[in-house]
Symmetry: C2
Subunit: 284 residues, 2 copies
Amino acid sequence: MIQLKSVAIVGVGLIGGSIGLALQHHKIAERVIGIGRDRCRLRKAYEVGAVTETATWDDELAGGLAGAEFVVVCTPVDSVPEQVRQAARHAPRGTLITDIGSTKRTIVEALAGHLPNDCRFVGSHPLAGSEKTGVLHADRYLLAGRVVIITPTPDTAPSDADRVAAFWQALGAKVLSMTAAEHDRAAALTSHLPHALAVALAAGLPDQMRDLAGSGFRDTTRVAAGDPEMWRQIFIDNREDLLESIGLFRELLDRLAAAIGEGHELELKDLLTLAKKNRDALGS
Amino acid sequence: MIQLKSVAIVGVGLIGGSIGLALQHHKIAERVIGIGRDRCRLRKAYEVGAVTETATWDDELAGGLAGAEFVVVCTPVDSVPEQVRQAARHAPRGTLITDIGSTKRTIVEALAGHLPNDCRFVGSHPLAGSEKTGVLHADRYLLAGRVVIITPTPDTAPSDADRVAAFWQALGAKVLSMTAAEHDRAAALTSHLPHALAVALAAGLPDQMRDLAGSGFRDTTRVAAGDPEMWRQIFIDNREDLLESIGLFRELLDRLAAAIGEGHELELKDLLTLAKKNRDALGS
Protein backbone atom coordinates (compact mmCIF):
# COMPACT_ATOMS: atom_id res chain seq x y z
CA MET A 1 0.00 0.00 0.00
CA ILE A 2 1.40 3.35 -1.06
CA GLN A 3 1.89 5.89 1.73
CA LEU A 4 2.73 9.50 1.00
CA LYS A 5 3.52 12.45 3.20
CA SER A 6 2.45 15.04 0.70
CA VAL A 7 0.63 15.07 -2.64
CA ALA A 8 0.19 18.23 -4.72
CA ILE A 9 -2.88 18.55 -6.96
CA VAL A 10 -2.63 21.21 -9.66
CA GLY A 11 -6.18 22.15 -10.62
CA VAL A 12 -8.73 21.18 -7.98
CA GLY A 13 -11.92 20.64 -9.98
CA LEU A 14 -14.18 17.60 -10.16
CA ILE A 15 -11.42 15.04 -10.60
CA GLY A 16 -8.62 16.82 -8.71
CA GLY A 17 -11.01 17.38 -5.83
CA SER A 18 -12.18 13.77 -5.88
CA ILE A 19 -8.56 12.60 -5.76
CA GLY A 20 -7.93 14.88 -2.78
CA LEU A 21 -10.96 13.55 -0.92
CA ALA A 22 -10.01 9.93 -1.63
CA LEU A 23 -6.37 10.44 -0.58
CA GLN A 24 -7.54 11.63 2.81
CA HIS A 25 -10.40 9.15 3.17
CA HIS A 26 -8.09 6.19 2.51
CA LYS A 27 -5.34 7.80 4.62
CA ILE A 28 -2.90 7.61 1.74
CA ALA A 29 -1.49 11.13 2.13
CA GLU A 30 -1.08 13.26 5.23
CA ARG A 31 -0.97 16.53 3.33
CA VAL A 32 -2.87 17.33 0.15
CA ILE A 33 -1.85 20.67 -1.34
CA GLY A 34 -4.29 22.20 -3.79
CA ILE A 35 -2.63 24.46 -6.34
CA GLY A 36 -4.50 26.69 -8.78
CA ARG A 37 -4.80 30.09 -10.38
CA ASP A 38 -8.02 31.17 -8.71
CA ARG A 39 -7.99 31.93 -4.99
CA CYS A 40 -11.77 31.61 -4.67
CA ARG A 41 -11.81 28.14 -6.17
CA LEU A 42 -8.92 27.09 -3.98
CA ARG A 43 -10.79 28.31 -0.93
CA LYS A 44 -13.82 26.27 -1.99
CA ALA A 45 -11.62 23.18 -2.40
CA TYR A 46 -10.30 23.72 1.11
CA GLU A 47 -13.76 24.32 2.54
CA VAL A 48 -15.18 21.09 1.13
CA GLY A 49 -12.17 19.25 2.55
CA ALA A 50 -10.70 18.21 -0.80
CA VAL A 51 -7.29 19.60 0.19
CA THR A 52 -5.54 20.25 3.50
CA GLU A 53 -3.77 23.40 2.28
CA THR A 54 -3.65 25.61 -0.78
CA ALA A 55 -1.14 27.55 -2.85
CA THR A 56 -1.67 29.84 -5.83
CA TRP A 57 0.01 28.87 -9.08
CA ASP A 58 1.40 32.33 -9.77
CA ASP A 59 2.75 33.36 -6.38
CA GLU A 60 3.03 30.35 -4.14
CA LEU A 61 4.02 27.51 -6.46
CA ALA A 62 7.46 26.93 -4.96
CA GLY A 63 6.08 26.82 -1.41
CA GLY A 64 3.16 24.62 -2.43
CA LEU A 65 5.40 22.06 -4.07
CA ALA A 66 8.22 22.25 -1.49
CA GLY A 67 7.52 18.93 0.21
CA ALA A 68 5.54 17.17 -2.54
CA GLU A 69 6.38 13.52 -3.13
CA PHE A 70 3.84 13.14 -5.89
CA VAL A 71 2.18 15.70 -8.18
CA VAL A 72 -1.07 15.23 -10.13
CA VAL A 73 -1.80 17.83 -12.81
CA CYS A 74 -5.57 18.04 -13.31
CA THR A 75 -5.94 20.90 -15.78
CA PRO A 76 -7.29 20.95 -19.38
CA VAL A 77 -5.06 19.06 -21.81
CA ASP A 78 -3.54 22.09 -23.57
CA SER A 79 -1.97 23.33 -20.31
CA VAL A 80 -0.62 20.02 -19.07
CA PRO A 81 2.87 19.90 -20.66
CA GLU A 82 3.86 23.41 -19.55
CA GLN A 83 2.43 22.91 -16.08
CA VAL A 84 4.23 19.61 -15.63
CA ARG A 85 7.50 21.30 -16.64
CA GLN A 86 6.88 24.20 -14.26
CA ALA A 87 5.96 21.85 -11.44
CA ALA A 88 9.18 19.90 -12.06
CA ARG A 89 11.19 23.11 -11.66
CA HIS A 90 9.77 23.72 -8.19
CA ALA A 91 9.17 20.26 -6.79
CA PRO A 92 11.78 18.35 -4.76
CA ARG A 93 14.43 16.61 -6.85
CA GLY A 94 13.16 13.40 -8.46
CA THR A 95 9.45 13.96 -7.78
CA LEU A 96 7.07 11.78 -9.79
CA ILE A 97 4.42 13.70 -11.73
CA THR A 98 1.29 12.44 -13.47
CA ASP A 99 -1.79 14.01 -15.04
CA ILE A 100 -5.41 13.10 -15.81
CA GLY A 101 -5.69 14.40 -19.39
CA SER A 102 -8.23 12.76 -21.72
CA THR A 103 -5.66 12.71 -24.54
CA LYS A 104 -2.18 11.34 -24.05
CA ARG A 105 -0.02 11.38 -27.21
CA THR A 106 0.57 15.11 -27.43
CA ILE A 107 1.24 15.37 -23.71
CA VAL A 108 3.56 12.38 -23.53
CA GLU A 109 5.47 13.46 -26.65
CA ALA A 110 5.81 17.03 -25.38
CA LEU A 111 7.30 15.71 -22.13
CA ALA A 112 9.65 13.14 -23.67
CA GLY A 113 13.26 13.43 -22.56
CA HIS A 114 14.49 14.88 -19.32
CA LEU A 115 12.38 17.07 -17.08
CA PRO A 116 14.01 19.76 -14.96
CA ASN A 117 15.30 18.75 -11.59
CA ASP A 118 15.39 15.04 -12.41
CA CYS A 119 11.62 14.79 -12.04
CA ARG A 120 9.79 12.10 -14.03
CA PHE A 121 6.40 12.11 -15.74
CA VAL A 122 4.06 9.18 -16.42
CA GLY A 123 0.76 10.01 -18.16
CA SER A 124 -2.56 8.86 -16.71
CA HIS A 125 -6.20 9.05 -17.76
CA PRO A 126 -8.87 8.06 -15.24
CA LEU A 127 -12.07 7.05 -17.08
CA ALA A 128 -14.15 8.79 -14.51
CA GLY A 129 -15.34 12.07 -15.91
CA SER A 130 -18.83 13.46 -15.70
CA GLU A 131 -20.71 16.26 -17.35
CA LYS A 132 -20.47 18.02 -14.00
CA THR A 133 -17.54 20.27 -13.26
CA GLY A 134 -16.01 21.90 -10.21
CA VAL A 135 -14.90 20.82 -6.79
CA LEU A 136 -18.44 21.07 -5.38
CA HIS A 137 -19.26 17.87 -7.29
CA ALA A 138 -16.11 16.10 -6.09
CA ASP A 139 -16.75 12.65 -4.64
CA ARG A 140 -14.32 10.51 -2.66
CA TYR A 141 -15.61 7.43 -4.48
CA LEU A 142 -15.38 8.86 -8.00
CA LEU A 143 -12.42 6.62 -8.86
CA ALA A 144 -13.57 3.53 -7.00
CA GLY A 145 -13.92 0.67 -9.43
CA ARG A 146 -13.05 2.86 -12.41
CA VAL A 147 -10.35 2.19 -14.97
CA VAL A 148 -7.26 4.41 -15.07
CA ILE A 149 -5.07 4.07 -18.14
CA ILE A 150 -1.39 4.84 -17.67
CA THR A 151 0.86 5.43 -20.67
CA PRO A 152 4.52 4.77 -19.84
CA THR A 153 7.05 5.09 -22.70
CA PRO A 154 10.10 2.93 -23.45
CA ASP A 155 12.08 5.51 -21.45
CA THR A 156 9.89 5.20 -18.34
CA ALA A 157 11.57 3.39 -15.43
CA PRO A 158 9.38 0.38 -14.53
CA SER A 159 9.50 1.45 -10.88
CA ASP A 160 7.99 4.83 -11.84
CA ALA A 161 5.18 3.18 -13.81
CA ASP A 162 4.56 0.83 -10.86
CA ARG A 163 4.40 3.70 -8.43
CA VAL A 164 1.90 5.64 -10.53
CA ALA A 165 -0.16 2.47 -10.91
CA ALA A 166 -0.01 1.92 -7.13
CA PHE A 167 -1.21 5.50 -6.58
CA TRP A 168 -4.38 4.94 -8.63
CA GLN A 169 -4.95 1.47 -7.20
CA ALA A 170 -4.81 2.95 -3.71
CA LEU A 171 -7.76 5.14 -4.73
CA GLY A 172 -9.71 2.03 -5.71
CA ALA A 173 -9.11 2.15 -9.47
CA LYS A 174 -8.18 -0.65 -11.84
CA VAL A 175 -5.06 0.26 -13.85
CA LEU A 176 -4.42 -0.61 -17.50
CA SER A 177 -1.15 0.23 -19.23
CA MET A 178 -0.82 1.00 -22.93
CA THR A 179 1.03 3.34 -25.26
CA ALA A 180 -0.20 6.90 -25.61
CA ALA A 181 -1.07 6.21 -29.26
CA GLU A 182 -3.12 3.14 -28.30
CA HIS A 183 -4.84 5.19 -25.62
CA ASP A 184 -5.77 7.99 -27.99
CA ARG A 185 -7.17 5.61 -30.59
CA ALA A 186 -9.29 3.84 -27.97
CA ALA A 187 -10.40 7.09 -26.31
CA ALA A 188 -11.47 8.47 -29.69
CA LEU A 189 -13.88 5.57 -30.13
CA THR A 190 -15.07 5.10 -26.56
CA SER A 191 -15.18 8.68 -25.30
CA HIS A 192 -14.54 11.43 -27.87
CA LEU A 193 -16.87 9.96 -30.52
CA PRO A 194 -19.83 9.57 -28.10
CA HIS A 195 -19.18 13.12 -27.00
CA ALA A 196 -19.19 14.39 -30.59
CA LEU A 197 -22.47 12.57 -31.30
CA ALA A 198 -24.07 13.94 -28.15
CA VAL A 199 -22.97 17.45 -29.14
CA ALA A 200 -24.36 17.20 -32.68
CA LEU A 201 -27.61 15.71 -31.34
CA ALA A 202 -28.09 18.31 -28.59
CA ALA A 203 -27.11 21.18 -30.89
CA GLY A 204 -29.88 20.12 -33.28
CA LEU A 205 -32.74 20.16 -30.76
CA PRO A 206 -35.15 23.01 -31.59
CA ASP A 207 -36.25 24.94 -28.49
CA GLN A 208 -39.91 24.16 -29.10
CA MET A 209 -39.22 20.41 -28.89
CA ARG A 210 -37.61 20.60 -25.48
CA ASP A 211 -40.72 19.28 -23.68
CA LEU A 212 -40.71 16.23 -25.91
CA ALA A 213 -37.16 15.15 -25.09
CA GLY A 214 -37.61 12.14 -22.82
CA SER A 215 -35.15 10.01 -20.93
CA GLY A 216 -33.68 8.52 -24.13
CA PHE A 217 -32.72 11.92 -25.49
CA ARG A 218 -31.43 12.96 -22.07
CA ASP A 219 -29.22 9.90 -21.65
CA THR A 220 -27.89 10.08 -25.17
CA THR A 221 -26.94 13.76 -24.86
CA ARG A 222 -25.93 13.87 -21.17
CA VAL A 223 -22.20 14.37 -21.82
CA ALA A 224 -22.92 17.36 -24.06
CA ALA A 225 -23.39 19.38 -20.85
CA GLY A 226 -19.64 19.08 -20.27
CA ASP A 227 -17.32 22.07 -20.34
CA PRO A 228 -17.05 23.38 -23.95
CA GLU A 229 -13.48 24.67 -23.59
CA MET A 230 -12.22 21.42 -22.10
CA TRP A 231 -13.79 19.45 -24.92
CA ARG A 232 -12.64 21.86 -27.62
CA GLN A 233 -9.09 21.13 -26.52
CA ILE A 234 -9.65 17.36 -26.46
CA PHE A 235 -11.30 17.31 -29.92
CA ILE A 236 -8.52 19.39 -31.49
CA ASP A 237 -5.75 17.52 -29.74
CA ASN A 238 -7.04 14.08 -30.81
CA ARG A 239 -8.50 15.19 -34.14
CA GLU A 240 -7.01 12.49 -36.37
CA ASP A 241 -8.19 9.58 -34.27
CA LEU A 242 -11.52 11.25 -33.65
CA LEU A 243 -12.15 11.90 -37.36
CA GLU A 244 -11.35 8.28 -38.07
CA SER A 245 -13.84 7.18 -35.41
CA ILE A 246 -16.46 9.55 -36.82
CA GLY A 247 -15.82 7.95 -40.22
CA LEU A 248 -16.39 4.44 -38.83
CA PHE A 249 -19.53 5.63 -37.10
CA ARG A 250 -20.84 7.23 -40.30
CA GLU A 251 -20.50 3.88 -42.10
CA LEU A 252 -22.57 2.14 -39.44
CA LEU A 253 -25.18 4.90 -39.41
CA ASP A 254 -25.38 4.68 -43.21
CA ARG A 255 -25.90 0.91 -42.99
CA LEU A 256 -28.62 1.44 -40.43
CA ALA A 257 -30.28 4.17 -42.49
CA ALA A 258 -30.13 2.01 -45.62
CA ALA A 259 -31.70 -0.93 -43.78
CA ILE A 260 -34.49 1.36 -42.56
CA GLY A 261 -35.01 3.17 -45.87
CA GLU A 262 -35.00 0.06 -48.03
CA GLY A 263 -37.01 -1.96 -45.55
CA HIS A 264 -34.31 -4.60 -45.01
CA GLU A 265 -35.88 -5.81 -41.83
CA LEU A 266 -33.45 -8.68 -41.18
CA GLU A 267 -30.38 -6.46 -41.53
CA LEU A 268 -32.07 -3.89 -39.30
CA LYS A 269 -32.92 -6.50 -36.66
CA ASP A 270 -29.32 -7.79 -36.81
CA LEU A 271 -27.91 -4.32 -36.11
CA LEU A 272 -30.37 -3.71 -33.28
CA THR A 273 -29.52 -7.11 -31.80
CA LEU A 274 -25.75 -6.58 -32.08
CA ALA A 275 -26.09 -3.17 -30.43
CA LYS A 276 -28.13 -4.66 -27.59
CA LYS A 277 -25.60 -7.47 -27.08
CA ASN A 278 -22.71 -4.97 -26.93
CA ARG A 279 -24.59 -2.61 -24.64
CA ASP A 280 -25.82 -5.35 -22.32
CA ALA A 281 -22.21 -6.51 -21.92
CA LEU A 282 -21.31 -3.11 -20.43
CA GLY A 283 -23.80 -3.40 -17.58
CA SER A 284 -25.94 -0.50 -16.40
CA MET B 1 -60.68 13.30 -10.97
CA ILE B 2 -61.42 10.31 -13.15
CA GLN B 3 -62.86 7.23 -11.40
CA LEU B 4 -63.19 3.91 -13.16
CA LYS B 5 -64.63 0.58 -12.14
CA SER B 6 -62.56 -1.44 -14.51
CA VAL B 7 -59.57 -0.83 -16.82
CA ALA B 8 -58.21 -3.48 -19.18
CA ILE B 9 -54.52 -3.43 -20.08
CA VAL B 10 -53.57 -5.42 -23.16
CA GLY B 11 -49.86 -6.27 -22.88
CA VAL B 12 -48.63 -6.02 -19.30
CA GLY B 13 -44.93 -5.20 -19.72
CA LEU B 14 -42.92 -2.29 -18.38
CA ILE B 15 -45.43 0.41 -19.28
CA GLY B 16 -48.63 -1.62 -19.06
CA GLY B 17 -47.51 -2.89 -15.66
CA SER B 18 -46.60 0.59 -14.49
CA ILE B 19 -50.02 1.87 -15.52
CA GLY B 20 -51.64 -0.98 -13.59
CA LEU B 21 -49.64 -0.21 -10.46
CA ALA B 22 -50.39 3.50 -10.69
CA LEU B 23 -54.12 2.93 -11.28
CA GLN B 24 -54.32 0.99 -8.02
CA HIS B 25 -51.94 3.21 -6.08
CA HIS B 26 -53.94 6.34 -6.92
CA LYS B 27 -57.22 4.43 -6.43
CA ILE B 28 -58.37 5.34 -9.93
CA ALA B 29 -59.65 1.90 -10.86
CA GLU B 30 -61.14 -0.83 -8.71
CA ARG B 31 -60.35 -3.61 -11.15
CA VAL B 32 -57.34 -3.78 -13.45
CA ILE B 33 -57.55 -6.68 -15.91
CA GLY B 34 -54.26 -7.73 -17.48
CA ILE B 35 -54.70 -9.30 -20.91
CA GLY B 36 -51.95 -11.04 -22.85
CA ARG B 37 -50.90 -14.04 -24.89
CA ASP B 38 -48.53 -15.59 -22.38
CA ARG B 39 -49.96 -17.13 -19.21
CA CYS B 40 -46.60 -17.03 -17.41
CA ARG B 41 -46.16 -13.33 -18.00
CA LEU B 42 -49.72 -12.65 -16.94
CA ARG B 43 -49.12 -14.58 -13.72
CA LYS B 44 -46.00 -12.51 -13.06
CA ALA B 45 -48.00 -9.32 -13.62
CA TYR B 46 -50.56 -10.55 -11.11
CA GLU B 47 -47.89 -11.59 -8.61
CA VAL B 48 -46.20 -8.17 -8.62
CA GLY B 49 -49.59 -6.57 -8.12
CA ALA B 50 -49.70 -4.77 -11.46
CA VAL B 51 -53.17 -6.19 -12.19
CA THR B 52 -56.03 -7.45 -10.05
CA GLU B 53 -57.05 -10.19 -12.50
CA THR B 54 -55.87 -11.67 -15.77
CA ALA B 55 -57.30 -13.00 -19.02
CA THR B 56 -55.57 -14.63 -21.97
CA TRP B 57 -55.89 -12.93 -25.34
CA ASP B 58 -56.74 -16.06 -27.24
CA ASP B 59 -59.25 -17.75 -24.94
CA GLU B 60 -60.53 -15.30 -22.40
CA LEU B 61 -60.67 -11.99 -24.24
CA ALA B 62 -64.43 -11.60 -24.09
CA GLY B 63 -64.52 -12.30 -20.36
CA GLY B 64 -61.55 -10.05 -19.66
CA LEU B 65 -63.11 -7.12 -21.46
CA ALA B 66 -66.67 -7.76 -20.29
CA GLY B 67 -66.83 -4.93 -17.77
CA ALA B 68 -64.03 -2.70 -19.09
CA GLU B 69 -64.75 1.02 -19.13
CA PHE B 70 -61.35 1.88 -20.56
CA VAL B 71 -58.82 -0.20 -22.52
CA VAL B 72 -55.11 0.56 -22.91
CA VAL B 73 -53.28 -1.42 -25.58
CA CYS B 74 -49.59 -1.66 -24.62
CA THR B 75 -48.16 -3.92 -27.32
CA PRO B 76 -45.53 -3.25 -30.02
CA VAL B 77 -46.73 -0.79 -32.65
CA ASP B 78 -47.32 -3.29 -35.48
CA SER B 79 -49.94 -5.15 -33.43
CA VAL B 80 -51.84 -2.13 -32.13
CA PRO B 81 -54.45 -1.54 -34.88
CA GLU B 82 -55.61 -5.15 -35.03
CA GLN B 83 -55.66 -5.49 -31.25
CA VAL B 84 -57.67 -2.28 -30.84
CA ARG B 85 -60.18 -3.56 -33.36
CA GLN B 86 -60.40 -6.95 -31.63
CA ALA B 87 -60.76 -5.30 -28.22
CA ALA B 88 -63.57 -3.13 -29.62
CA ARG B 89 -65.41 -6.26 -30.73
CA HIS B 90 -65.45 -7.67 -27.21
CA ALA B 91 -65.59 -4.62 -24.97
CA PRO B 92 -68.86 -3.13 -23.75
CA ARG B 93 -70.57 -0.85 -26.27
CA GLY B 94 -68.93 2.57 -26.54
CA THR B 95 -65.75 1.73 -24.59
CA LEU B 96 -62.89 4.17 -25.00
CA ILE B 97 -59.61 2.62 -26.13
CA THR B 98 -56.12 4.11 -26.21
CA ASP B 99 -52.59 2.79 -26.77
CA ILE B 100 -49.03 3.69 -25.87
CA GLY B 101 -47.28 3.21 -29.23
CA SER B 102 -44.14 5.20 -29.99
CA THR B 103 -45.42 5.96 -33.47
CA LYS B 104 -48.87 7.34 -34.11
CA ARG B 105 -49.61 8.08 -37.78
CA THR B 106 -49.92 4.51 -39.03
CA ILE B 107 -51.97 3.47 -36.01
CA VAL B 108 -54.31 6.45 -36.11
CA GLU B 109 -54.82 6.15 -39.89
CA ALA B 110 -55.47 2.41 -39.63
CA LEU B 111 -58.14 3.05 -37.00
CA ALA B 112 -59.83 5.99 -38.73
CA GLY B 113 -63.57 5.61 -39.20
CA HIS B 114 -65.91 3.53 -37.11
CA LEU B 115 -64.72 0.83 -34.74
CA PRO B 116 -66.92 -2.20 -34.05
CA ASN B 117 -69.46 -1.90 -31.30
CA ASP B 118 -69.41 1.91 -31.27
CA CYS B 119 -66.07 1.94 -29.43
CA ARG B 120 -63.74 4.90 -29.93
CA PHE B 121 -59.95 5.13 -30.15
CA VAL B 122 -57.68 8.05 -29.21
CA GLY B 123 -53.93 7.47 -29.68
CA SER B 124 -51.48 8.13 -26.84
CA HIS B 125 -47.72 8.02 -26.42
CA PRO B 126 -46.27 8.33 -22.90
CA LEU B 127 -42.67 9.59 -23.10
CA ALA B 128 -41.67 7.24 -20.36
CA GLY B 129 -39.84 4.33 -21.88
CA SER B 130 -36.68 2.77 -20.63
CA GLU B 131 -34.17 0.30 -21.99
CA LYS B 132 -35.63 -2.13 -19.47
CA THR B 133 -38.51 -4.35 -20.45
CA GLY B 134 -40.99 -6.55 -18.64
CA VAL B 135 -43.41 -6.20 -15.77
CA LEU B 136 -40.68 -6.90 -13.19
CA HIS B 137 -39.34 -3.39 -13.90
CA ALA B 138 -42.78 -1.80 -13.66
CA ASP B 139 -42.90 1.22 -11.39
CA ARG B 140 -46.00 2.95 -10.05
CA TYR B 141 -44.25 6.32 -10.53
CA LEU B 142 -43.03 5.71 -14.08
CA LEU B 143 -45.53 8.20 -15.50
CA ALA B 144 -45.33 10.77 -12.72
CA GLY B 145 -44.18 14.09 -14.15
CA ARG B 146 -43.75 12.61 -17.64
CA VAL B 147 -45.28 13.93 -20.83
CA VAL B 148 -48.00 11.93 -22.59
CA ILE B 149 -48.85 13.01 -26.12
CA ILE B 150 -52.38 12.33 -27.30
CA THR B 151 -53.27 12.49 -30.98
CA PRO B 152 -56.99 13.11 -31.52
CA THR B 153 -58.18 13.52 -35.11
CA PRO B 154 -60.79 15.93 -36.51
CA ASP B 155 -63.27 13.06 -36.03
CA THR B 156 -62.50 12.58 -32.33
CA ALA B 157 -65.23 13.78 -30.00
CA PRO B 158 -63.73 16.44 -27.70
CA SER B 159 -65.21 14.60 -24.71
CA ASP B 160 -63.26 11.45 -25.69
CA ALA B 161 -59.99 13.36 -26.00
CA ASP B 162 -60.68 14.99 -22.64
CA ARG B 163 -61.34 11.66 -21.01
CA VAL B 164 -58.14 10.11 -22.34
CA ALA B 165 -56.22 13.20 -21.19
CA ALA B 166 -57.83 12.93 -17.76
CA PHE B 167 -56.80 9.27 -17.57
CA TRP B 168 -53.11 10.13 -18.06
CA GLN B 169 -53.31 13.16 -15.81
CA ALA B 170 -54.71 10.97 -13.05
CA LEU B 171 -51.49 8.95 -13.29
CA GLY B 172 -49.43 12.11 -12.75
CA ALA B 173 -48.54 12.82 -16.37
CA LYS B 174 -48.66 16.10 -18.26
CA VAL B 175 -50.69 15.79 -21.46
CA LEU B 176 -49.91 17.46 -24.78
CA SER B 177 -52.20 17.16 -27.78
CA MET B 178 -51.02 17.22 -31.40
CA THR B 179 -51.73 15.53 -34.71
CA ALA B 180 -50.30 12.08 -35.31
CA ALA B 181 -48.10 13.52 -38.08
CA GLU B 182 -46.72 16.21 -35.77
CA HIS B 183 -46.11 13.55 -33.15
CA ASP B 184 -44.19 11.30 -35.50
CA ARG B 185 -42.00 14.13 -36.78
CA ALA B 186 -41.14 15.21 -33.22
CA ALA B 187 -40.61 11.64 -32.00
CA ALA B 188 -38.26 10.97 -34.91
CA LEU B 189 -35.99 13.80 -33.74
CA THR B 190 -36.31 13.43 -29.97
CA SER B 191 -36.53 9.66 -29.58
CA HIS B 192 -36.01 7.57 -32.74
CA LEU B 193 -32.89 9.49 -33.87
CA PRO B 194 -31.13 9.22 -30.47
CA HIS B 195 -31.99 5.53 -30.51
CA ALA B 196 -30.53 5.08 -34.00
CA LEU B 197 -27.31 6.86 -32.95
CA ALA B 198 -27.00 4.76 -29.81
CA VAL B 199 -27.48 1.62 -31.88
CA ALA B 200 -24.82 2.55 -34.45
CA LEU B 201 -22.43 3.57 -31.67
CA ALA B 202 -22.95 0.43 -29.59
CA ALA B 203 -22.83 -1.84 -32.66
CA GLY B 204 -19.39 -0.40 -33.48
CA LEU B 205 -17.75 -1.12 -30.14
CA PRO B 206 -15.09 -3.83 -30.55
CA ASP B 207 -15.20 -6.43 -27.76
CA GLN B 208 -11.62 -5.70 -26.70
CA MET B 209 -12.51 -2.07 -25.98
CA ARG B 210 -15.33 -2.92 -23.58
CA ASP B 211 -13.22 -2.16 -20.48
CA LEU B 212 -12.49 1.30 -21.82
CA ALA B 213 -16.11 2.33 -22.22
CA GLY B 214 -16.71 4.74 -19.36
CA SER B 215 -19.81 6.53 -18.16
CA GLY B 216 -19.97 8.75 -21.26
CA PHE B 217 -20.19 5.77 -23.60
CA ARG B 218 -22.66 4.07 -21.28
CA ASP B 219 -24.99 7.06 -21.09
CA THR B 220 -24.84 7.71 -24.81
CA THR B 221 -25.66 4.09 -25.70
CA ARG B 222 -28.03 3.24 -22.82
CA VAL B 223 -31.17 3.06 -24.98
CA ALA B 224 -29.49 0.59 -27.35
CA ALA B 225 -30.22 -2.09 -24.73
CA GLY B 226 -33.91 -1.73 -25.60
CA ASP B 227 -35.89 -4.54 -27.21
CA PRO B 228 -34.69 -5.04 -30.84
CA GLU B 229 -38.05 -6.22 -32.16
CA MET B 230 -39.92 -3.31 -30.60
CA TRP B 231 -37.46 -0.84 -32.13
CA ARG B 232 -37.36 -2.57 -35.51
CA GLN B 233 -41.10 -1.94 -35.73
CA ILE B 234 -40.76 1.68 -34.66
CA PHE B 235 -37.92 2.42 -37.11
CA ILE B 236 -39.76 0.85 -40.04
CA ASP B 237 -43.08 2.42 -39.14
CA ASN B 238 -41.63 5.93 -38.88
CA ARG B 239 -38.94 5.53 -41.51
CA GLU B 240 -39.57 8.70 -43.50
CA ASP B 241 -39.44 11.05 -40.54
CA LEU B 242 -36.53 9.12 -39.04
CA LEU B 243 -34.48 9.27 -42.25
CA GLU B 244 -35.10 13.00 -42.42
CA SER B 245 -33.89 13.38 -38.82
CA ILE B 246 -30.82 11.27 -39.57
CA GLY B 247 -30.14 13.60 -42.51
CA LEU B 248 -30.34 16.70 -40.29
CA PHE B 249 -28.08 15.00 -37.77
CA ARG B 250 -25.54 14.10 -40.47
CA GLU B 251 -25.33 17.75 -41.48
CA LEU B 252 -24.52 18.79 -37.91
CA LEU B 253 -22.02 15.97 -37.47
CA ASP B 254 -20.36 17.02 -40.76
CA ARG B 255 -20.14 20.62 -39.55
CA LEU B 256 -18.62 19.42 -36.29
CA ALA B 257 -16.15 17.12 -38.09
CA ALA B 258 -15.17 19.92 -40.48
CA ALA B 259 -14.57 22.32 -37.59
CA ILE B 260 -12.37 19.70 -35.91
CA GLY B 261 -10.51 18.64 -39.04
CA GLU B 262 -9.84 22.13 -40.31
CA GLY B 263 -9.05 23.46 -36.86
CA HIS B 264 -11.87 26.03 -36.88
CA GLU B 265 -11.72 26.46 -33.14
CA LEU B 266 -14.32 29.22 -32.90
CA GLU B 267 -16.89 27.26 -34.90
CA LEU B 268 -16.11 24.21 -32.79
CA LYS B 269 -16.48 26.15 -29.56
CA ASP B 270 -19.78 27.60 -30.80
CA LEU B 271 -21.20 24.13 -31.48
CA LEU B 272 -20.02 22.81 -28.10
CA THR B 273 -21.53 25.84 -26.36
CA LEU B 274 -24.86 25.56 -28.20
CA ALA B 275 -25.04 21.86 -27.32
CA LYS B 276 -24.34 22.60 -23.68
CA LYS B 277 -26.99 25.35 -23.60
CA ASN B 278 -29.59 23.01 -25.13
CA ARG B 279 -28.65 20.11 -22.85
CA ASP B 280 -28.55 22.24 -19.70
CA ALA B 281 -32.07 23.44 -20.51
CA LEU B 282 -33.33 19.84 -20.26
CA GLY B 283 -32.16 19.37 -16.68
CA SER B 284 -30.52 16.22 -15.42
